[in-house]
């Protein structure tokens, strides 16, 4: 059978990759994609646990995560467009209005 521990390892690796992408990349689009990667890693973990527990509640939760991810992607991309309109670029280093 599939070793579920290794599935979790995969989820962990994907999540870490996503975090690295969020923190390190300057391109807003790539940052969003990294977030999606993180969400997917979570989904994988959930499915693994669903398999572990023997019931489907975790998979239902997965479903909701996907729905929320879709909504978030829509909003986020709207933001990217607004950002682009303002700065003519989507370099996050330009977006520093909160700087003290």
């Amino acid at each position: 059978m599939i070793d579920l521990n290794h599935a979790l390892v995969v989820a962990f690796l994907l999540f870490g990759t996503g975090v690295a992408g969020v923190l390190l990349r300057r391109n807003a689009i790539v940052v969003f994609m990294s977030i999606e990667l993180m969400l997917n890693a979570v989904n994988l973990a959930l499915v693994t646990f669903s398999r572990l527990r023997g019931d489907l509640d975790a998979q239902v939760l997965c479903f909701f995560v996907m729905a929320v991810a879709a909504a978030e992607a829509a909003i986020g991309l709207g933001l990217v467009i607004a950002l682009f309109r303002r700065h003519e670029s989507i370099d996050l280093d330009r977006a520093t209005l909160l700087r003290s």
Binding site: M1, I2, D3, L4, N5, A7, L8, V9, V10, L13, L14, G16, T17, G18, A20, L24, R25, R26, N27, I29, V30, F32, M33, S34, E36, L37, N40, N43, L44, V47, T48, S50, R51, L52, R53, G54, D55, L56, D57, Q59, V60, C62, F63, F64, M66, A67, V68, A70, A71, E72, A73, A74, I75, L77, G78, L79, V80, I81, A82, I90
Partner: protein, 163 residues
């Protein structure tokens, strides 16, 4: 057989993920992300989450990524520079460090041992549907409203100010 496929899809997913964050061209990154999603869908199938696998392909790869691609095309984004921290030399340091970490983790098996999986229904559509419209009906409906809000929000955000 299944284990082999699992490791194949797993490697594919991880490698695709790394490629996503290291591409200079956002278009390439998006495509590698699609690949990662497909790999994950494969893993879901192997874990008997059939419905989820289908939804993964349909929603993530099919809708969300299309949206991403749409925006990339709209803004006509070209390749841009990686942050200095991710340039050639440093990248290999990271890769080596992460690989080392993973190997250590695997070798020591530091994680808590999971118990044996319990038997249970497979992630068939009917089974999921039964849970979804049964115990989780309310979250389902609320999610619908959430999507509505998202639609309105994104329209507002992208709205050009009238002159």
């Amino acid at each position: 057989m299944r284990e082999l496929l699992f490791y194949f899809f797993a490697a594919l997913a991880v490698v695709s993920g790394i490629l996503v964050i290291t591409r200079r061209n956002p278009l390439a990154a998006a495509l590698y992300l699609v690949l990662a999603f497909f790999a994950l869908a494969g893993i879901y199938v192997l874990l008997d989450a059939f419905f989820l696998a289908a939804v993964q392909v349909a929603v993530y790869a099919g809708a969300i990524m299309v949206l991403f691609l749409f925006v990339i095309m709209l803004l006509n984004l070209g390749p841009d520079d990686l942050p200095p921290i991710m340039t050639r030399k440093v990248r290999w340091v990271y890769a080596a460090a992460s690989a080392l970490l993973v190997l250590v983790f695997l070798a020591l098996d530091l994680g808590r041992r999971l118990p044996a999986p319990a038997a249970g229904p497979a992630g068939e559509v009917e089974a999921i549907g039964e849970r979804l419209f049964g115990a989780y009906l309310l979250p389902f409906e609320i999610t619908a409203i959430l999507l509505l809000v998202a639609i309105v929000g994104s329209v507002v955000l992208a709205h050009r100010e009238s002159k």
